[in-house]
């Protein structure tokens, strides 16, 4: 019996018989936010890739379409995201090759990703990503998240990383069923703006993607208007007691 596990590729076999595995990320993307709206699912992320504390890459697309029915957004290690895209590409390819009217929907892709992430975590060689998977199939909207340890769930709105702390409270207060597309974008931009102000790895260059029964649209990157004239920002050290 031939056994070939593609997942082993990331481990390096060193001569003394031990294997080395990745245990920390290098180039990372920050938050992704996703929410359901009337016709489907909307997802947004900035296009930044940080190298530690340096905002090194400014045009990284962190949201990609998967097959006909899904969108995948990722935060965390960019190279691992690219690897996941390769796996999914193969998965969708084989699915299309059947050419039999059946196709993998967002639920199936989400579950597949969960299995992949959990499997890698069990080998102590995780794919260092938090994934947001959204899609529409046969009128059913789907939005789910998978983390690097395989924790997965579905919800009406999800976020990764800092988005969980800064964006989700806004969404919990203001999201409701059947948002129009314009309302959803407005709500999304509100969240993105907060992240831009407060997340140091966020850059002012965002992509907003939507998926409906008709298909996927990913916007061109654009910037949000920021306001730095708040009085608190004028003299930042005014209230601070310090020795220098």
């Amino acid at each position: 019996m031939e056994l070939q596990t593609l997942a082993m590729k990331d481990a390096t076999i060193v001569d003394d018989g031990t294997t080395e595995r990745t245990s920390y990320p290098y180039v990372t993307g920050t938050s992704v936010i996703g929410m359901k709206y009337k016709e489907g699912v909307i997802m947004a992320a900035d296009t930044g890739g940080s190298y530690g504390s340096t905002l090194r890459y400014k045009s990284v697309e962190r949201i990609k379409p998967i097959g006909k029915h899904s969108l995948l957004g990722a935060s965390g290690e960019i190279s691992d995201f690219q690897e996941i895209l390769r796996y999914l590409d193969e998965l969708i390819l084989y699915d299309n090759m059947w050419d039999d009217g059946n196709s993998l929907g967002p639920k199936e892709v989400h579950n597949y990703l969960t299995r992949v992430m959990y499997n890698r975590r069990n080998k102590f060689d995780p794919l260092w990503n938090s994934l947001v998977l959204g899609g529409v199939k046969n009128g059913q909207k789907y939005l789910g998240m998978v983390s690097m340890n395989g924790t997965h769930f579905e919800d009406n709105h999800v976020a990764t990383g800092f988005g969980n702390h800064l964006a989700r409270p806004i969404l919990r207060a203001e999201w409701h069923e059947d948002l129009s597309f314009e309302e959803a974008v407005k709500l999304m931009e509100k969240c993105l703006l907060v992240l831009l102000y407060r997340d140091r790895s966020a850059i002012n260059k965002f992509q907003v993607a939507k998926i409906t029964e008709e298909g996927v649209t990913i916007s061109q990157p654009y910037a949000l208007k920021t306001y730095w004239g708040f009085s608190a920002f004028q003299n930042p050290s005014k209230g601070a007691v310090g020795s220098w």
Partner: protein, 279 residues
């Protein structure tokens, strides 16, 4: 007979281009007790004749639930049928584990058909390339499966009925019958199949029972001799209770005592001998 020289093992071709072992395997299917399948747009029904080794024993199980949305009826070497059912269940459950969704029927039957050959099966993505080693027509120390399967199932593309042959062929059917005296059932189904797509669930079940009746040719149709199973949209695959089968048979027999326009018997070719109405 002349073909004896080329029928010793499954990897020998005859000069006429036939694999006799595979054909003999298909003979085994013809010897088994009958099984029929009928499909409408939303439901699929399977019915089999229960053959018991003796009056003292219980009858052989011929209908297997593979998953909530798929079931099979077999004819032929029922032992092989059990092995294949286990394989099918495994495939379904593995798919459901990874994708949290039911395996499409057409993909399941392809895997089953591949198993009848010796094939490499590539399961995509992160996972493994598996060498299928079970049965085959390509290794001389293996024999083909001696069982035909009627695979009934539902998926997002609709209701499906497939027939998988020991040769590794499979076809989709509106209705089909296999096993001994299945020709009588096929004749019955051929006359009616065009309207099956619009049948209600109950009409489909009734016709399945009628079809089984045709294969009995003289024997009394009772609920003990017939197993019935149905799968439909919003209805998981399950065997129908014996009591219900009895009620259905009774309601059908009452109709038959009445002026028999419904009874398909009258247009049966006379060569069958004993008229099934002689019950």
């Amino acid at each position: 007979m002349f073909r004896n020289q080329y029928d010793t093992d499954v990897t020998t071709w005859s000069p006429a281009g036939r694999l006799f072992q595979v054909e003999y395997a298909m003979e085994a299917v013809k010897q088994g007790a009958a099984a029929v399948g009928l499909r409408s747009a939303s439901h699929v029904v399977l019915a089999t004749v229960n053959k018991a080794a003796s009056d003292l024993s219980s009858y052989q199980k011929k209908v297997f639930k593979i998953d909530d949305h798929i079931g099979v009826a077999i004819a032929g070497l029922t032992a092989d049928g059990r092995v294949l059912s286990r394989y099918l269940r495994n495939e379904c459950i593995n798919h459901a584990f990874v994708y949290e969704s039911p395996l499409p029927v057409s993909r399941l039957v392809v895997r089953l058909a591949d198993k009848a050959q010796l094939k490499r099966q590539h399961i995509s993505g992160l996972t493994l390339i598996i060498l299928q080693e079970q049965v085959c027509t390509q290794r001389s120390w293996k024999r083909p499966y001696g069982v035909g399967l009627l695979v009934a199932g539902l998926d997002e593309t609709g209701a499906h009925l497939y027939y998988n042959c020991p040769s590794g062929n499979y076809f989709e059917y509106q209705a089909f019958a296999i096993g001994s005296r299945s020709q009588a059932a096929k004749t019955f189904l051929e006359r009616r199949f065009e309207s099956f797509n619009n049948y209600s669930r109950d009409e489909l079940i009734k016709d399945a029972i009628f079809a089984i009746k045709e294969t009995l040719q003289g024997e009394k149709l009772t609920s003990a001799i017939c197993t019935l199973a149905v799968v439909g949209k919003d209805e998981a695959f399950h065997l129908i209770d014996q009591k219900i089968i009895e009620e259905l048979i009774d309601s059908m027999e009452i109709k038959e005592d009445a002026p028999a326009d419904q009874a398909p018997v009258t247009d049966e070719d006379g060569s069958t001998g004993a008229a099934p109405m002689d019950i």
